[in-house]
Symmetry: C2
Subunit: 267 residues, 2 copies
C-alpha cells in the first residue's frame, strides 16, 4: 500500500502524474492519491475579489487564513476543479477513480480551531471566523469500502470537525495520518522541488536521506512548506509507515522516481 | 428506495432540505440525493468573466452551452461549493454522507456530444467545444458499495463520457436514470415551483396529478425546465419507477411533503 500526496503548487504536472499513477493502479498496486490546490485557490480567490491571506503561527508555521468565504472558494478549487480534474484524468486512463474530500464519510476528522493565533507586525493577534483544524482521526471505513469495490480513492481537504463542519487542514499531514491509519509501507510527498534542499532554492543542495533522529535538525534549515512536510514525515514514521520520500512532481514518472528513492528518503 | 433530486435554482433552501433528508436517513430509509447548482454557477461564471450562455435545441429544449472553461466552473460549483456544502449539512446532522459526481466510479456514463445544434436568430447553428452529453448507463456499483458500507450518496453532474471525459448532463434525467437503475419505488424532482403549473407562473394553477398517458399533452403547456422534468419523469416510469412527484423545495419538509403527494404526482 502506498499513499501519494501531490501538492498544488505551480509547476506540478498532473497529466504526467496521472500517467504514472494509472500505470501503478493497472499493475494492481493498492494506492490512495491525495492532492492539494493551493496555487489555483489563490488565483480563483483573487479573481473572485477575496484575495488569499497567509498567517504565521507563533511556532513559525505559515498557513492560509480560512474564513467562511475562503473555505467555500477552497472547496470550489480543491473538491471541484482539481479533484474532478484528477478523477477525469484517471478515468481517461482507464482507472476507476473516486474523488472525495475528508468530509465525505468523515474520512478525516479532528478538532476545529475557531480562533487562531498569528504573528502580525511582530505581535500575536487572535483571528476569529477560522475554519481550520487538524486531522486527529482517520476513519478508514470509506477508503476500505472503496478498495473492496475495486475503486481508487482520490482524497483532498477539507476534513470534518468533530461537529461535522468543513475545516481546512494541512494536506501533507493529512496524507501522513492516512498512510499511518492504513498501515501503508510508503508515503510519497511530491511537490515542485526535488526534495529537501540544504540551501533552498539551490536544487544541487538536495539532501538524499534523512534519518528519523535527524528530522528536527533538518527542519531548522528547511523553508516554510518543507518544514510542514518534515513534520508530516515524522508523524507518518511515528505512526508505523516504513518510509517517506519527498519527491519532485514536475516531470515524467514522479511516483516511480520517488519509489526508486529519487528525492529525500526519510526512514 | 427513493431518489431525491433537488434543483439549483434561486429560492431553494438546502438547510431545510437537509433537515428533512437527515430525518429520513436516520429512520433508515435508503435514499440517494441528487442536486444541481445552476443559479450559483451563473453567478460564479459572471464573477470569473465567463458569463453563462444558454442555447435552445431544434427540438425546443434549453441548456447551458458548456465549453471547457464553463465545464471547469461548473465542476467548481456543483462538485465543490454545492456538493461539499450539502455533505457538510448532512454530516452536521449526523448523516454519514459521501459526495460524488457522476464521473466518480463512472456512475453516470454516456456519449459526449462534441458539437451541438442550436437555434440562434431563427437559424440552426453548430456549436463546437461542447462538453455535454447524456446518461445512457448508470453503473450502480459505487452506489451499492456505499449503501453496503452505511453511507448516504450525494450525487451531482458531470457524468463520464464513454471515453472518461467529464460531460455536463441534465440532472433531472440523470436522477431519473439512477432511480430506474436502482429499482427505486419513488423519484422526487424538487425545485422552486410547487409542481407542474397549468398557467406558469400562477401557483394556483398546480396540476395535482398526471397519468403516464397524459405526459406528452402536459408537456405542451409546460415551461422550459418543467418540460425536461416531465421527460425525466416519463423515462423514470418507463424504467420501472413506481411514481414521480414534482415538488417544492422552498420551505420546510420538502421531501416529506412530496412523499405525501404534495405537488404533481405522475404515475
Amino acid at each position: 500500500m502506498i499513499v501519494i500526496k501531490v501538492g498544488g503548487s505551480e509547476g506540478i504536472d498532473l497529466d504526467l502524474l496521472c500517467d504514472d499513477v494509472a500505470g501503478l493502479a493497472r499493475d494492481g498496486v493498492p494506492l490512495v492519491l491525495v492532492h492539494g490546490g493551493s496555487h489555483r485557490t489563490n488565483r480563483v480567490a483573487e479573481a473572485l475579489g477575496h484575495p488569499p491571506r497567509f498567517v504565521t503561527s507563533p511556532s513559525g508555521y505559515t498557513s492560509r487564513h480560512t474564513d467562511r468565504r475562503t473555505l467555500e472558494i477552497f472547496e470550489m478549487v480543491y473538491c471541484g476543479e482539481i479533484n474532478k480534474g484528477v478523477v477525469e484524468r484517471l478515468q481517461r486512463r482507464g482507472v476507476n477513480a473516486v474523488g472525495l474530500s475528508g468530509l465525505d464519510g468523515r474520512t478525516w476528522e479532528g478538532p476545529r480551531k475557531k480562533a487562531i493565533r498569528a504573528i502580525e507586525d511582530g505581535r500575536v493577534r487572535v483571528l476569529r471566523d477560522s475554519w481550520t483544524g487538524k486531522v486527529e482521526r482517520v476513519n478508514t471505513g470509506l477508503i476500505q469500502t472503496l478498495f473492496d469495490g475495486g475503486f481508487v480513492p482520490v482524497l483532498t481537504p477539507p476534513a470534518a470537525s468533530f461537529d461535522g463542519e468543513a475545516i481546512n487542514v494541512d494536506g501533507d499531514r493529512a496524507a501522513a495520518a492516512t498512510a499511518a491509519a492504513l498501515g501503508a509501507e510508503t508515503l510519497l510527498l511530491l511537490s515542485n522541488v526535488p526534495g529537501l534542499l540544504r540551501d533552498f532554492p539551490d536544487e544541487a543542495s538536495l539532501v538524499p536521506a534523512v534519518a528519523r533522529a535527524e528530522i528536527d535538525a533538518a527542519s531548522e534549515h528547511a523553508e516554510g512548506r518543507m518544514r510542514i512536510k518534515l513534520l508530516g514525515a515524522r508523524e507518518a514514521l511515528d505512526g508505523g509507515v516504513g518510509r517517506v520520500v519527498l519527491g519532485d512532481a514536475r516531470g515524467a514518472d514522479p511516483v516511480t522516481n520517488a519509489l526508486e528513492g529519487k528525492g529525500t528518503v526519510i526512514a
